[in-house]
Symmetry: C2
DNA sequence: TCGATAGTTCGGAATTATGGAACTATGGTG
DNA sequence: CACCATAGTTCCATAATTCCGAACTATCGA
């Protein structure tokens, strides 16, 4: 269950977080990650017509911005939303954004 | 005082708004616009070591995302934050972001 | 009319994003 | 162990964006 490198909580900055959330696919991945702790990349991306290499890039952007952490678990990567770190560093940021994203695509509808 | 074209309130979507806010320069411009209604481009960008053509692009991104409106006033463009439209369409979004941005660069400090 | 001011547009260079193909690493099976 | 399937990453060429200097436009004031 080796963890992949990620920025420390104190190193998180606002602009990269907003950038990471400014893509519809990534926003959806984050929403799913929140509702689905410890899920793998493939599970979270299920049904999203996006090629795997592009997804891998999206996960990297999310990880480098500090939104998620990844741990290697066998052949899988487990994704966890860094909810605590984000709440600590950017209180009041993530909840409204995810709420509005959910309002904009109620199901996991048209991204 | 002819207004420049801008997306209608109902047409605003989350991803472009987050994208517009994901750049440190634009974030700063939005902060200044909020504290400085009816100011011109030049006034809002004062002191920001960014070339004018780049600023013009930033204003366009902000306008097209629906964050600001611009009206032509003589030789000037007056910038207004679309606070009402944004609050209506994305309640709870802008305030936290601008608060966190202010916390991250208290003055208009290192962008 | 002329010049200065305020900002936009154009176009090329630099950066970033996309995605197919090849690769790596792990687990399961015989 | 040999072999294959799975899960994801990396490489790299193309496409799309962004940056910014230079040229342009529009308006005001003298």
């Amino acid at each position: 269950m080796r963890p992949l490198p990620q920025p420390a909580r104190e190193a998180l900055t606002l602009a990269p977080v907003l950038h990471a959330l400014s893509d519809p696919v990534r926003l959806e991945l984050v929403r799913r990650a929140r509702g689905n702790p410890e899920a793998t990349c493939a599970v979270l991306a299920d049904g999203l017509d996006v090629p795997m290499s592009t997804l891998s890039n999206h996960w990297r952007v999310l990880r480098e911005a500090g939104l998620i952490s990844m741990t290697v678990d066998g052949r899988h990567r487990r994704i966890r939303l860094r909810a605590d770190d984000l709440r600590d560093r950017f209180p009041g940021l993530l909840e409204p954004i995810l709420r509005l994203a959910a309002a904009e695509s109620p199901d996991s509808g048209p991204l």
